[in-house]
Subunit: 455 residues, 2 copies
């Protein structure tokens, strides 16, 4: 079955032939639709919040009544002020618009006669960059023989709907700070909506383009979701393997070309070379993204053409898969579909095996024996509704965090007591000759000079 | 009045002649005691939480009742499971000990016959480091002519008591990531309790020591509190000014030497050179820190000897001031008390002037015209009880965040619409020649080569 190219304004092909298997969606993929059971899950969560707040109300009231000696009228006045203050704080934090905002819709009104673009067409970027690099030797694109990488991640600018979400975003960025410090990688943590039309999971596209054009010294832009953790602190991406490629993405060629599965690739962790080809791919990728009728219609095309995809608006991952399938000859020679290590490692099959890994293997492998990245697809700790139970997700993320943190703490002589709790224990006595330990244990010393891929 | 040296087990001098002025404590300093009004404030906060949860309970109940069609017995069973699940999650997250923990008290039991130390005495660290550096040229302590700096910050491993606290910890680390990327500074974000006795604000001491000894390639360790934001993204610390010094700390010599004020210096943002002198100072500083009777007794000495200090356990800042005063001749020749720029900038006098600053001045000044660091002393967004209203603190932190973020977004063509809200606006059209903008606006280009202090 051929796949038509997607262009807005044309009649979309909705012919199909691919079976849609909901099992794929919930078990192994990034499910962003509203699957069966979602409403029930939503109700459960509401009940949970209610019960929790009810308990807190009762407990605090009991404590308060026993503490103060406020008169009732004074208490009423205090209560009223506090109610107002609380409401004001919450309203401002969660407001969709700042009091200073003009009417935002004037800037982004949907105009069906205009095809969306990421920006003015850039040509000759490779040459522009080359000239700039030679004129700016203090900003080289290679440092110590390694190409400069910029890791890009981020989260929305407002507090998470679920408060525990911000705590795990914090742990996730601490985890990334650790990995990147050990490997000389720079980080951009984005909390700004650069383009209102390409919001949500599409927001990475304008961001990646903007960063490429603003940082010519960067050789590779590495996008990583906020719900992905580094779990192999030693492993390094074997960039020399990709000298002939411009996009490195985790996936499975058979799932992609034979099954046309909507989870054949994962856009939660991938690398783009900073070059003209990448700008072109971003331009070709973006048109399904603008929120509203375009994204909705595009979603239907994607569901009709990709195996296992539920019905929902177009997401960036499905759109990329569709693009690479429908314009295979144009793009695939420069795309490396990687699965020799876990550039993206789906969490559900990994987190329960950490103890076994610690017993049998060691960091540096990056694959199923010691996963490079553990990605909490479907957990959505920041939002209200994930595809898995909150309990399971939080426990699993904490385990991944500790599993990684142990590898960092080792140099300092500590380790977590277990994979779930926050406490640490000393694993090595202090010494008057600390530099011996540094020589043995500093992770950066074990990766210096390594450029070949691990088999 | 002479100040006695502090050694545990000896009878402490509690005589004093310094007036204690509570105004200093609450208006301008780090207030960690339980001043008058604290109990009332605590009651107010309890009432706030009660009201808030009561509202949420009511609202969610109204929403829930209208949504589902669960039978009452099924709802009861669901409720019971959810109550248990929620309680279990909260209990595990907030537990003081991991289920796998042995009884922790066996490791840290207070023994009055043992004087606390940070670790075995290290001698000849300067020589050890020098030898190591010459043997490890791939880990130089100077890069591009600049000494290597490691910024160290952190927060507790458990979720904040106040959920909004985690969101502002996230914003604060994003802010630090931005500054450090622009200035080639590495970051360690600590979330581990390295030493149970030196917990809380004292935790930075064992951490700094541990990092010095584990990172001989680092020339300066820069401790920065989690509630401090960079607000001048261009300004660089003029390290060449401190070639003869080993500790750089913000403060006022007259407040220190003449008034012996407990806020004469601020330990929320300071730099230690990685050298033997620093290890010695840390060793001399630590003895007032161990939690329990020692810290309590030490607090009394500090209150008695430092002007304005309320009565509470010993804190690291007061202890350092006391140490430097009582052993002035031993230490002060290597301590630079800096106030030419805001290595620490007390927030209350700054945050309301940001618009005026944007109108009149520009980044790079680092002083009262454009503060280098805005430090939210007393706000405690992560805890339950700060010294200022939650509303005022959150608004002010958001303003500082946006004020700084504007300086980063400028390169990318964006700016926040106002200092309070999350939304941004485009301030420059996209162009087909993006490298011209990079040449004009990249902050790293404006600091390259600058090593002199700014007057």
């Amino acid at each position: 079955m051929g796949l038509d190219s997607f262009t807005p304004q044309k009649r979309f092909s909705t012919g199909g032939g691919l079976p849609i298997n909901n099992h794929d969606a919930t078990a192994a993929g990034r499910n962003r639709g509203v699957p069966r059971g979602r409403q029930l899950h939503k109700t459960f969560n509401n009940i949970k919040i209610t019960i929790l707040c009810g308990f807190v109300t009762i407990l605090v009231l009991r404590g308060t009544i026993g503490v103060g000696n406020l008169g009732s009228s004074e208490a009423d006045a205090v209560n009223q002020n506090l109610i107002e203050e609380t409401n004001r704080i919450l309203a401002e934090i969660r407001a969709d618009s700042d009091p200073d905002d003009p009417d935002e819709s004037t800037e982004t009104g949907f105009n069906p006669n205009v095809t969306y673009t990421l920006g003015p067409k850039i040509s000759g970027w490779d040459q522009q960059r080359k000239v700039w690099l030679s004129g700016n030797p203090e900003f080289p694109n290679f440092v110590n023989g390694k190409p400069r990488i910029l890791l890009v991640t981020g989260s929305p600018p407002k507090p998470c709907d679920n408060p525990i979400g911000d705590h795990y975003l914090l742990k996730a960025i601490k985890n990334k700070i650790d990995y990147c410090r050990l490997h000389g990688i720079e980080i951009v943590y984005n909390m700004a909506h650069l383009d209102k039309e390409l919001a949500g999971y599409w927001a990475k596209l304008p961001l990646i383009r903007r960063l490429m054009l603003s940082h010519p010294e960067i050789e590779w832009i590495w996008w990583m979701d906020s719900d992905a953790f580094f779990t192999d602190m030693v492993f390094e991406i074997p960039l020399s393997k990709y000298e002939q490629h411009n996009l490195v993405i985790h996936g499975y060629p058979d799932l992609l070309f034979e099954q046309k599965s909507w989870i054949a690739l994962n856009t939660g962790s991938f690398l783009f070379r900073n070059c003209q080809w990448s700008l072109n791919l971003l331009d070709a990728w973006a048109p399904m993204g603008p929120k509203g009728p375009i994204r909705d219609e595009a979603g239907k095309v994607l569901t009709a053409n990709l195996k296992g995809r539920p019905a929902f608006e177009a997401d960036d991952q499905s759109a990329l898969i569709y693009l690479l399938l429908s314009q295979k000859d144009r793009w695939m020679d420069k795309v490396f579909v990687e699965n020799q290590y876990y550039l993206h490692g789906y969490w559900a099959g990994l987190v329960d095996r950490y103890e076994e890994m610690m017993e049998k293997y060691h960091p540096g492998l990056g694959d199923e024996r010691w996963p490079f990245v553990t990605h909490f697809v479907g957990c959505k700790p920041c939002g209200s509704y994930g595809d898995y139970s909150v309990d399971r997700c939080l426990r699993s993320m904490q385990r991944a965090f500790n599993f990684a943190d142990n590898q960092v703490l080792k140099l300092y002589g500590f380790s977590h007591r277990g994979l779930l709790g926050p406490n640490i224990k000393r694993i090595r006595d202090e010494t008057t000759t600390p530099l011996e330990i540094v020589d043995q244990l500093d992770i950066r010393r074990s990766v210096t000079g390594k450029t070949e891929s691990k088999s």
